[in-house]
């Protein structure tokens, strides 16, 4: 019989690290920086998650995925707690994560935490396909809450840009 005590915090982290972001399936919730902590007690396991955007519809799916993975692995009484403080930021993404986004066709956030928030379009965004910096913004609000829509002037392809947040 599998009991909760057989699972260390590290083991649970490893299990949860396989869960991908449903809207960007090339990166995991750990790589995105959303998976903050796991609190293991004798009869329960609480996962601390920080939402990327307050209204991100993927959060519900991610919570369900976490509970499903934990239950499948015999972990008793799993629960997910959303914690807003400290607020999630794109600064928590590693360079490896940004490279995965680029290969997936999404340009990664270019600078730290919106230092120039009054002029968010004053950034040089490179095309994730041809790496040209001749690009222009089409819309600050794109297919999901976290992305803006850009277009490349060289290869003529439209692409998503993960906004600084």
């Amino acid at each position: 019989m599998v009991t909760t005590t057989a699972h260390t915090k590290e083991r649970i982290f490893d299990l949860l690290s396989t869960i991908v972001d449903p809207e960007i399936p090339v990166v995991t919730i750990a790589e995105m920086g959303m998976l903050r902590d796991v609190i293991v007690s004798y009869h329960a396991c609480e996962v601390i998650l920080t939402p990327t955007y307050t209204g991100c519809p993927a959060m519900g799916i991610i919570e369900d995925d976490i509970l499903s993975v934990l239950k499948t692995n015999g972990i008793e009484n799993p629960s997910v707690k959303l914690v807003y403080s400290p607020a999630w930021t794109t600064d928590w993404m590693t360079d490896t994560t940004k490279e995965k986004l680029r290969k997936f066709g999404i340009a990664a956030p270019t600078h730290s935490s919106c230092s120039n928030w009054l002029k968010p379009t004053d950034v040089s965004v490179n095309c994730p396909r041809c790496n040209s910096n001749h690009t222009h913004i089409i819309s600050q609000f794109g297919s999901t809450a976290c992305k803006a829509l850009y277009s490349c002037d060289d290869c003529k392809e439209p692409f998503d840009y993960f906004k600084c947040h």
Binding site: T54, G55, L82, Y84, S139, Q140
Partner: protein, 252 residues
Amino acid sequence: MTNQEALYIYLLRLGDNALLNGHRLAEWCSRGPFLEEDLAMTNIALDNIGRAQAFLKYAAAIHGKGKTEDDLAYKRSEREFYNHLITELPIGDFAYTVAKQLIISCFDVLVFTDLSNSKDETIAGIAAKALKESRYHFVHARDWSYRLGKGTEESHRRYQHAIQDLWMYTGELFEMNEVENILLQEGISNNLQEVKSNWINLIMPILQESSIRIPTVDYMQTGSCKGIHTENLGHILSEMQYLQRAYPDAKW
């Protein structure tokens, strides 16, 4: 009024503002002037609904008695809502929505800047998140303000009319009553009188740059801090709450 009661009402106000603004903006879904604006309006709506959920969830926890954020959104009556009147006003034409968004997002950016330093850790966390979102909303409204104000004769006329029409709803954004005063002393909420001067400093240059005449009004609308609303809120709730009223506790 105890500190806990004040905190509950305050959280309802933060949550209701976002809920009503988000609900109104969602009316642009499939009706935007073009596809990118349709997406922008609905994205901003989504951010608002998300923060409404966060604030109302915390309000429900403070209230205790096992309520959820959905109970608070779908099972309160009109007089129990504390959103600013401006949030419940109809979306009007595109210029009217831009004017509403400029007024509201200038206010939101300033309020959430303060609240991200709130002594209440949960409010501070949600505010830090909401601030980043509101900055994008603000830039969106500001840039449209310039374009409409200095665009065609028609866009200018419509935008000027909207600002004129909405101005009397700006006074109550800065009202402070017992709730705000209790929480201000606790370091949980902020001083809305200070926000008022910052708001004027933020919005005036944008309106001037947009060639918009600053309205002068003798009378400011008020009432929402007592749960007294325009005729619009009842109509919104009858639609928003229909399912939970007709089929209580129905799950998606």
